[in-house]
Each structure stands twice: as structure tokens, then as C-alpha cells.
């Protein structure tokens, strides 16, 4: 469904990604782990078109999307949950969700989608008129995830959704990812919390300083001695 092939991304002169390739199949959950500054967020931003890849190709459902403006990419069916659950703080919860359905593909279904989301996240329904900035960290993350569902995506990319949340809330987030997976969404999840992320993963990649250093299914990750000591804390 998504094929990233040997992309290089630069910030000015600084190269943040070097020849990164990865694949996400329909209905699959793929995770990318790596330390701070490895280029995980850059990878997601490049796929979405927020950063331009200097070389390489990005194909989504067989069509080249690298070089497209982000709003075009969103229209094709990719959505992103940004790092730190960045929501629009001065917009109400409801308006945040509505922005999620801005693209013309999603707009006609916005009302139905919103009702579904409110039944999935009753907390958000209770606060729908409240400004998003007044939500707690966990609620904000939930809102960011819910907002990404509003654009009728086929692939959802999540950037460290568990970052800075209490363990109980982290579990909630992963439960929810599990549920999205069951509903058939393809998921590309970036995480530092490799233990938790591997539990939902079908396939995993390890990125260090802008390069892919390892890939494999869950078992091969679990068994790799380097990953075990460096990322799984075993």
C-alpha cells in the first residue's frame, strides 16, 4: 500500500534521512523505533509532504506521492497524528475534529464520522464545546488520534503517541491502536516505547541517525541481542 524507496531528506544542508526505504501493506501495523533525533518524525513528515525528499520515491496505492503538497496527500487517504498530540488549542474539541474532515473527500461524511468518534471517545463528547487547550495531556492525544480518523484515511501515521503520558493512559492509547488495527486501518507507528509498540506490530524497522539499521518481524526483533539491550531494556 505504501512503499517508501531510498529517500533522502535535508533540512538546509543537514541530511536527516539517508536512503530510507520501508513498506506498509494493507491492514498491516508497521512500527519504526529509534532514539531521539534519529529522523522518525522527519520520515513521517516526508511521507505527508511537509518536508520534501530530495531523492527517492514514495508510492501510495501504486501512485507516486513524493513531491505532492500535504493537502493532496491527505486527500489520497493518509493522515497523521503529530508528535505531542498537537491540537489547535483555541478551537473547541468539536472544531478540532471538524478541521480533520476539511478535505473534500471526507467532508460529506463528517457528521456521521463525528458521531462515531463521540461514541468511541465519550470523554471527547462530554467536552465537545471546550477549548482543546484546556484538555489534559491524555485527552489531547485522544483528540489528535480522533481527529486523524476524521479525514477517512486508509493509512494512519502516529508520531510517538505515548510520549509523556501516564502508564494507564499509555495502555489506553495502545488499546485504541489495537482497535483501529482490527477495523482494518493500515498503521505506521513511530515509537520510542519499543516494548509496547512491538506488541501491536506486524513488522518493525529500526532507524538510527537517519539510516535504517535493522528490519524484521516481531520475533526477529525480540530476539536480536543488540535491540534487546539497547531498546527493549532486557
Amino acid at each position: 500500500m505504501l512503499t517508501v524507496d531510498a529517500i533522502d531528506t535535508y533540512y538546509g544542508e543537514f541530511q536527516a534521512l539517508e536512503g530510507v526505504s520501508l513498506k506498509v501493506e494493507k491492514g498491516q501495523t508497521v512500527i519504526v523505533v529509534g532514539p531521539n533525533g534519529a529522523g522518525k518524525s522527519t520520515l513521517l513528515k516526508t511521507i505527508l509532504g511537509l518536508q520534501k525528499a530530495r531523492t527517492g520515491s514514495i508510492k501510495f496505492q501504486g501512485e507516486e506521492i513524493s513531491g505532492l503538497a500535504p493537502h493532496k496527500v491527505v486527500e489520497r487517504g493518509i493522515s497523521m497524528v503529530p508528535e505531542g498530540g498537537r491540537v489547535f488549542p483555541d478551537l473547541s474539541v468539536q472544531d478540532n475534529l471538524r478541521v480533520g474532515s476539511y478535505n473534500p473527500v471526507a467532508r460529506p461524511n463528517a457528521q456521521r464520522q463525528m458521531e462515531q468518534i463521540f461514541s468511541l471517545f465519550p470523554i471527547l463528547s462530554d467536552r465537545k464545546r471546550q477549548a482543546a487547550g484546556s484538555l489534559s495531556g491524555g485527552e489531547r492525544q485522544m483528540l489528535a488520534i480522533a481527529r486523524s480518523l476524521m479525514s477517512c484515511p486508509q493509512l494512519i501515521m502516529l508520531d510517538e503517541p505515548s510520549l509523556g503520558l501516564a502508564p494507564l493512559v499509555v495502555n489506553m492509547v495502545f488499546d485504541f491502536i489495537q482497535q483501529m488495527k482490527k477495523e482494518g486501518y493500515a498503521i505506521l507507528l513511530v515509537e520510542q516505547n519499543a516494548n509496547k509498540a512491538l506488541k501491536v506490530a506486524d513488522y518493525a524497522y529500526l532507524v538510527e541517525s537517519g539510516k535504517l539499521v535493522y528490519e524484521g518481524d516481531r520475533d526477529s526483533f525480540d530476539k536480536n541481542p543488540y535491540i534487546k539491550t539497547a531498546y527493549l531494556g532486557l
Binding site: L48, L50, A69, P70, H71, V74, E75, S79, M80, P82, R86, V87, F88, P89, D90, L91, D95, R98, V99, G100, Y102, N103, A106, R107, R147, S151
Partner: protein
């Protein structure tokens, strides 16, 4: 004397309504595009001239001429976005400021070349309303009511439409807005068009009140600045409230002393505000 002050107060409120509309446009552009539109008052001047020209040279009925002026100013707003703001979107703030300041030179002299340096106006006599000893010019009252109505429409546009929602989200966080499938360039064009059309609306309300000349806009640019800074840059509510404060303060000062002193007072308030409380009267401490 007391009647005079009371009248100055009322006129301040009435003019404050129009100033609120003017400041709203400047504020919206700042909030969304993060650009200080230095030539905003000059846009009002141009709008005035266009309405004047459509009415006197092309013999359009006044209301049609006004509508025409509003449309033309909206288009000019988009032209500014296309030719000046787009190429400078990632330039240092100061370059943006200077570019729009040079636009002032272009627009004022363009008006001078096209329409000459004389004062021009459309003579309309509107009745004066009397309440006891208080006289209110109906042209002011009309402008006030019209401005408030326009602000109401703008409020609904921002809060009840998808475009309005997109404008508000781009104002808060462009990058995330892009991730939501919003094309900020389109939003910038809409914002500049709305801001331009607003100057046309303000010009239309000014028709029965003022006459126009090429340097007519300068004082309105400054007035709008003062109001926007006083209310906190990008803070639409703050701008709305401070328009009335500034309107009343300058109007009363002008009656007690002279219009120059009133303008000086407004500018001094602006300078002090920028120094001591740049976030404006309503803003939270940064």
C-alpha cells in the same frame, strides 16, 4: 461644555465601530498570514477613490459603485498576496515590513497620478438627529451600525463555515493545518481578499463623512495599528474592545485640545503599549 464632551463620547463610540472594522482586517491578516500590512490604511484611500470614480465617471448608482469598490479592493488584496507576500513568506519579518511600506509609496502616488492631489468626495447630505441638546450625525450612526453588522457577518463566517474554520486553524498552527489537508496559500488568499474587501466596506461607510486625497490613508493605518497593538496583535476580541477605547479617547482629546494632540496621544499609547505590554490589554503574559 458637558454636552460637547458627551457628544465627543458618542462620536467616539460611533467612529470606534468603524475603526473596529478596520482593525479587524489588519488583525486578521496579522493573525493568519503573520504579516503586518503596513499599507492597510492606504487601501481604504484607494477604496474611497474607486467608489468615487465608479460613481462620478461611470455614473454607477452609489450602492452599485460601493459594491464595485468592495470587489475591486478584495481583488487588490489578493494581488498583494500574489506579488508581495507570497515571495516574502519565508523572508525576515523586517523585509516583509519594508516591502509593504514601499507599497505605501506606490499606492499614494498612484492615487496622485490617477486622481490628482485635490480633495474629492461625493456630496451626500444626511440628516442630523437631535436628542435634547445632543446632536448625532446620521452618517456616523449609519457607519456604526453598518460596521457592527459587518463584524457580525464576519464572526459567523469565521465560526460557521469550513473556510472560517480553516482560517482559524491556520492562524493557530500552520504546520498541523497542512497536515489536516488545508492548503495555507489558499487560506492566505482568502484572508487577504477578505481584508481587502473590508477596506472597501470601510471606505463605503466613510463616503458620507469624509473627502479623500492621496494621503488620506496614512492616519488610518496608524489608527488601526494603535488599536491592534492595544488589543494584542492577532487578538480579534482585544482589537474590538480597544477600538472603542481609542475611539473615545481620541475623540474627547480632540475636543479638549486639537486633533494633532489626540493623534499624538494615541501614538504615545501605542509606543508605551509596545514597550510595556506587547501582548495587549487582554493578552496573557508571554
Amino acid at each position: 461644555m458637558l454636552e460637547e464632551l458627551l457628544m465627543a463620547f458618542i462620536n467616539g463610540i460611533l467612529l470606534g465601530g468603524v475603526l473596529a472594522l478596520l482593525a479587524f482586517g489588519l488583525n486578521l491578516i496579522f493573525g493568519v498570514v503573520k504579516i503586518i500590512h503596513m499599507a492597510y490604511g492606504q487601501f481604504v484611500m484607494l477604496g474611497f477613490y474607486f467608489i468615487y470614480y465608479f460613481h462620478t465617471a461611470w455614473h454607477m448608482p452609489l450602492l452599485v459603485a460601493m459594491a464595485g469598490g468592495i470587489v475591486v479592493m478584495g481583488l487588490l488584496g489578493m494581488l498583494v498576496q500574489l506579488l508581495i507576500i507570497n515571495p516574502l513568506l519565508n523572508a525576515p519579518r523586517l523585509n516583509q515590513l519594508l516591502a509593504l511600506a514601499s507599497l505605501i509609496i506606490v499606492l499614494e502616488n498612484l492615487a496622485q497620478v490617477l486622481w490628482g492631489a485635490d480633495y474629492r468626495g461625493i456630496p451626500i447630505s444626511m440628516p442630523i438627529i437631535q436628542f435634547g441638546d445632543i446632536f448625532i450625525r446620521s452618517s456616523y450612526l449609519l457607519a456604526f451600525l453598518g460596521a457592527i453588522a459587518t463584524l457580525g457577518i464576519l464572526y459567523l463566517f469565521l465560526h460557521k463555515t469550513y473556510f472560517g474554520l480553516a482560517i482559524r486553524s491556520v492562524a493557530q498552527d500552520v504546520e498541523i493545518a497542512k497536515g489536516m489537508g488545508i492548503n495555507p496559500k489558499v487560506i492566505y488568499y482568502i484572508t487577504l481578499a477578505a481584508g481587502g474587501a473590508l477596506t472597501g466596506v470601510v471606505a463605503a461607510f466613510f463616503i458620507p463623512i469624509y473627502t479623500v486625497h492621496p494621503h488620506f490613508g496614512a492616519s488610518f493605518t496608524l489608527m488601526a495599528f494603535v488599536i491592534v497593538v492595544f488589543g494584542g496583535m492577532g487578538n480579534l476580541m482585544g482589537g474590538f474592545i480597544s477600538a472603542f477605547i481609542i475611539g473615545v479617547v481620541t475623540s474627547i482629546t480632540a475636543v479638549l485640545t486639537s486633533t494633532e494632540v489626540a493623534d499624538i496621544l494615541a501614538l504615545v499609547l501605542f509606543i508605551l503599549m509596545m514597550m510595556v505590554r506587547p501582548q495587549g490589554i487582554l493578552g496573557a503574559k508571554a
